[in-house]
């Protein structure tokens, strides 16, 4: 079943069109990779799906589980199961990570009409997940992402993904700034979340990440459009020949 359907999406930022009619369908259980050069609009797409303000959708639509995503506030989208792991997670001084995780999880559950987690259940869950991601407990006492290394920030994003159990995970440049060990830990965390009910969109500039998170479908994005789609071998092809051929095509 189609989980996410982006249809002929046109998006403007500050009077300039960035996405020029982008179409993409992601089914339940699939892992899609979106590759493309810097500036091709990958982060813009992820932000529009998550509901970040400042983007004007001038045409097209985004359906999530058949519902119009663009009509929903960012928190409604999160409660429905949309999760964006940010390329640059922000630091939030004064908001302890643990308090943030619990508040966010319970806000999502409340929006879905589910009961709030009890403190022991919540702590148990966080402890399990953070252990598997190699996140020390004292990191969770600090402000959200405050003083975290690049790798720690990305692992904190994967931690949230595991905790919130979204049905659509969008990972924006999860590999940027990570050394190979940090990448492996984060990728293992993501792979552990693969399931027949959950889809993932892995945005990356480099093929390297796709050795760890192996996609079912690869899309090439250039200048605000998907210009080619194929199987995982497309990523290898790109690695060999570069993006130049698609830039001409776009």
């Amino acid at each position: 079943m189609a989980l996410l359907e982006v249809k002929d999406l046109k998006v403007r930022v500050e009077e300039r069109e960035i996405l020029h009619g982008l179409t993409l369908t992601v089914n339940e259980g699939e892992v899609h990779a979106i590759m493309g050069p810097n500036g091709s609009g990958k982060s813009t797409l992820s932000h529009v799906i998550a509901g970040k303000p400042g983007y004007e959708v001038t045409d097209g639509q985004i359906l999530f589980k058949g519902e119009d995503l663009l009509e929903m506030s960012p928190d409604e989208r999160a409660a429905k199961g949309v999760f964006l792991a940010f390329q640059y997670p922000v630091e939030i001084p004064g908001v302890a990570t643990m308090n943030f995780l619990r508040t966010a999880l319970n806000a999502q559950r409340k929006a879905r009409g589910e009961s709030e987690y009890s403190t022991p259940d919540f702590l148990k869950k966080v402890r399990e997940v953070s252990k598997s991601l190699n996140i020390p407990q004292d990191m969770l006492k600090r402000g959200v992402n405050v003083g975290f290394s690049g790798g720690e920030k990305k692992r904190n994003e994967v931690l949230q993904m595991a905790l919130f159990e979204p049905s659509l995970c969008i990972l924006d440049e999860m590999d940027s700034g990570l050394d190979i060990d940090a990448l492996r830990i984060a990728a293992d965390g993501v792979n552990a979340l693969r399931s027949p009910k959950r889809a993932m969109v892995v945005i990356t500039h480099y093929q390297r990440l796709l050795n760890y998170i192996v996609p079912d479908v690869v899309h090439v994005m250039s200048k605000g459009r998907v210009v080619k789609s194929g199987g995982k071998e497309l990523a290898l092809e790109l690695e060999a020949s570069g993006y130049a051929q698609f830039e001409d095509a776009a």
Partner: protein, 434 residues
Amino acid sequence: MNVAVAKTGKGRAVSDLFTSAEGRLPGSTAVTAVRREAFETYERLGLPHRRIEEWKYTDLRALVGEVLPLAAAPDAAALKRAADAVKTHAIAGARKLVLVDGVFAADLSDVKALASEAGFKTLRETLEKDAGLLKTTSTDAVIALNAAMATDGVVLDIADGAQLSAPIQIIHIATAAAASAFTRSQVTIGKGAHATIVESFVAAGSKAYQVNDAVIVSVGDDADVAHIRLMDDAPDAVNLTSHFVTVGANVKLKFFNMTTGAAVSRLQGFITLAGEGSELFANGVNLLQKTEHGDTTLVVDHAVPNCVSREIFRAVIDDRAHSVFQGRIIVRPDAQKTDGKMMTRALLLSDEAEADNKPELEIFADDVSCGHGATAGALDDSLLFYLKARGLPEKQAQALLIQAFVGEAIEQIADDSLREHVIGIAERWLERRS
């Protein structure tokens, strides 16, 4: 010269305020004379208005109009309501001293438990003997009015070397509607003493009342003191408070004020660092919504060398509320090596919110390090979006960031149950946001 009788906004003669209350104001004949003189000062000056420089941003004639008549002494029903309020607002483990509509309520207070730790009298008792506590050199109308009308207060004497095991909490409770309470207290802290003094202002169902409080504090050498004021009066109340603080040598004084109530409020503090080697840390938080007006005015007078003063004033301003911070640091000619800094940080939650900030440095010594800074802005959109993208609705995302902003000030309160108490008041303010 013909002097017209000054009239209040409702046509009552201003002098009625005093004459109608005089029978209820405690004190000897000497005290009555001091009160009369103070009231004449007030009558001559009237309520402060914007052309009085110190009151430029807080024009009481426009904001308050008139001073309401003296509240009646609380009856049994009022004391019953006050008792319920004490249950809600008492800090776990603290020694309570309760003033109801400006009158000390012994039955609601922990006088016995306190006796082993501090000397205690009421203002009423001290005024039977002498008028000293009402005397002031100030030319401020609000302070003069307080001296004229003060009905009661607490007079605390903490002995040299005393190490208080629990905070002392002075709770002002308003039960009378459309009336004024005038209180004046004195806190004397002995040399080397260690104490936490909390003042709470709350309402017990009362509306549209006015509070005029004055507190005279003196801190002995080597003392370590936390002074916390939590003004959570009813949303339509008026609270005008004046602090006079004198600090000895090698003192550590931490002052914290949080404003979460009252339609119109002003805390004016006059702090003199009179002994060398002392450190003053003053932290303030104004949480204002609707059309509330909250003014914090602080004059820190470095009278001697080698003292440190740090003031950080935060304001969270919603709707059409107005926050005022006026900070003056005076460095006297002798006060070399003074290190005095003040900072204001305003968080504006609406386009119509207003923050006024008037820092002043009056420096008469040459070898000093003094300065001031200010920031003002809205909540950070990128942080708000991150929280919303994780499922927090707008108001909840804002609340988390506001708590973080205010928390930086609150987390400096050392006593655990006191800190939890303060966090609770801030959270209830957040819940009141529309």
